[in-house]
């Protein structure tokens, strides 16, 4: 069978969620567990309840809606993403994944389609990781990758504990944050956040896996001295080796792999004064590649270069890897379901790897998993300039809907 979701209703729901925490410039500022996050959760729960879907909130605030299947013993198909946003982010990101799944349920209701397997929709808590670190937190706790109690204690910049914010907004549920039963599969729709689909003129992306990732920080320890009185040869400037490392990380991908990316996105400089030689400087790294071995080599090279640069300047340094996630290959069965849906619908698709980590990264060890990517204009994301046309939103959501419903096995097909 082929499902056709309601394009106008999808757009209407996208606009409704985008209004909650909207910024003046068309973006979205809906940090995890903020008032805006509470409001969009309330709105989402109401949509599910209006549909007659059974809602449950787990103890980490993940929201599930369950539409029963005809076979009480069948393992459910799970689909969803996240409604929280980056600071001044965009309105599409993961939101499209939740709204696309909601539109699937509405279409099934409209069409009186029953499935053998239950279908569950999910909104994961704190995917973004900007207010509370780490990101992918709700799916991480649920999948057992993270420890519930440890994540409860995470604090934001003001020192507010995550668990207190969950309580405050009324989303600390009483259902255990763990798979209550065996799941058949997980499908997640997300915008690409990269330029490949647009560059190749494709309409939808069939995601075959997620690249591996390493995050870390290198800190250099120099000495603060007066920029006027200290001769060059007596300096121990913490910023110079940091700058050399930044240049090195820009060059690194070209020596390692076709798909390797390396980024320094954040720095801290102390004391950060125009006429004082920097004493302590830290730089972050973000390295990704489809091959875990390439990531290992990249980290070795960062360590070697940090050492060489620090030694040249005669100062100490420290290298600390903070996040390391292995690459993920999605299961053929689920990838084929997405590919088949795109083909059935006549969309021009391509298979690609995700350069960003997603909640699907945590789901892949739990059950067969795949993802759908919607076209990102100019590859932009996490900014109000993030954009996916309504046509592309519709095509991606329709692909998700057909992949999910075929996997859930429609009984009145």
């Amino acid at each position: 069978m082929q499902l056709d979701i309601d394009r106008d209703r999808l757009i209407e729901a996208m606009e409704a969620q985008a209004a909650i925490g909207a910024t003046d410039n068309g973006g979205l500022h809906r940090l995890a567990l903020s008032d805006a996050d509470k409001d969009v959760r309330d709105w989402f729960v109401k949509q599910l309840s209006d549909l007659g879907v059974t809602v449950r909130i787990d103890e980490f605030g993940n929201i599930f809606g369950r539409r029963e299947g005809t076979d009480p013993a069948a393992a459910p198909v799970l689909t969803g993403s996240h409604l929280d946003s980056q600071p001044n982010g965009g309105i599409f990101d993961g939101q499209l994944g939740v709204i696309g799944a909601l539109e699937l349920l509405r279409t099934l209701e409209d069409s009186n389609i029953e499935t053998r397997r239950p279908i569950e929709i999910v909104n994961w808590t704190n995917e973004e990781g900007s207010r509370f670190q780490p990101g992918l937190q709700g799916s991480g706790v649920w999948s057992g990758e993270f420890d519930l109690e440890a994540e409860y204690e995470r604090t934001d910049r003001e020192g507010t504990r995550l668990v207190d914010e969950l309580e405050r907004i009324g989303y600390r549920g009483d259902v255990p944050a763990e798979p209550r039963e065996e799941y058949d599969s997980y499908f997640e729709l997300h915008i690409e956040q990269g330029p490949y689909l647009e560059a190749k003129g494709k309409e939808v992306g069939v995601v075959t896996g997620i690249v591996g990732l390493s995050w870390g920080e290198v800190t250099f320890y120099g000495s603060a001295d007066h920029a006027g009185g200290t001769p060059m040869h007596l300096r121990n400037d913490a910023l110079v080796p940091a700058a050399e490392l930044i240049v090195h990380i820009r060059r690194l991908p070209s020596t390692l792999g076709e798909r390797t990316v390396g980024t320094v996105g954040s720095m801290d400089i102390q004391p950060d004064s125009i006429n004082i030689i920097p004493e302590t400087v830290s730089v972050t790294w973000d390295v990704r590649d489809p091959s875990d071995a390439v990531i290992e080599r990249a980290i070795e090279q960062i360590e070697a270069d940090a050492k060489a640069a620090a030694t040249r300047e005669g100062i100490d340094w420290e290298v600390d890897e903070t996040v390391h996630t292995s690459s993920v290959r999605f299961d053929k069965r689920c990838v084929d379901a997405v590919q088949g849906a795109a083909e059935t619908l006549g969309y021009d698709s391509m298979q690609l790897l995700s350069g960003g980590a997603h909640d699907a990264s945590h789901l892949a060890p739990i059950c067969d998993t795949a993802m759908v990517f919607a076209v990102s204009e100019d590859g932009k994301s996490h900014t109000p300039a993030e954009h996916t046309s309504w046509d592309d939103c519709y095509r991606a959501a329709n692909t998700l809907a057909n992949a999910v419903v075929s996997t859930a096995e429609p009984v009145n097909d």
Copy 2:
């Protein structure tokens, strides 16, 4: 005649001022026009009044004390420095220059020594320039280099206007902030803030001039994109050219002059997130050299390198020089007075240039000027680790006293 100041009284006064705005770790946090600055000004005015010295406060808060000479027509000798400090700075810096001048006046009173010329002592407002920019502000207004009304409007990070803070602490005086008469000369004692005196085993420094200085900022304008999804060749990373420029500025002095120094001390990165490619990055420069021509060449090279680095990355850039001060050669008469004082006192001295700008930079165009440098241990300054031994404080203050008194022409010699 040879003057010998009171070493114990000098130390006592140094300790008294250091207690006002003291930090737990032995440093000093006495930002311009803060409550601590008001307290130390009140203390300073009381010391002057107790001495019978005539105090006047000018409309920019500069505090002058005048000890009359025997010749009503004679041009006065001015001496002093500043009592404000950097955030978490040291207790010696310019404070020693004010306290040394105070001890000179006390010694003259004790010894009933009269001079033909009046001697004036001064505490300049906001030398440091950390709370309100620019630094050397009080001397800059007084010398006519800066415009009084424009400097009144400067604001700190909280948006508080300088003139309002002057009013609040009660130091907006009614005397015009300008030389009211011709000045014979200006002598300033300051710690070296560099390693030369200690490295050469000298006891006091005879400063022959101040190197020229250029401050500025280069800003690079890239695009913010997702660090995972954006291939390397499609990036416009604002941090990479900034890093190249930092490395270039580290190398620059070795291509220009023996005494050239170049520093990047401060940076700003937006949005400053581990997984977002930096969109806007600015880096400051601080370049100094005894030759103004060398500084010109350094700025040309910074501009050329900023352009080359930005062009490689395919992004825009902007170069903005914010401060430019020409190098200063002090007058032989005043330098000789300092050199003669050190020799009379039997101190092992050396002549050197100041790598840092001082209020003396603004005084040099007004009248004959020279400076005395006290030994800075490890060349450290603007940190609680800043240190000058009491012996070195004493020797430098004694040198100042003898240079000033000989220039002021003692009449009962």
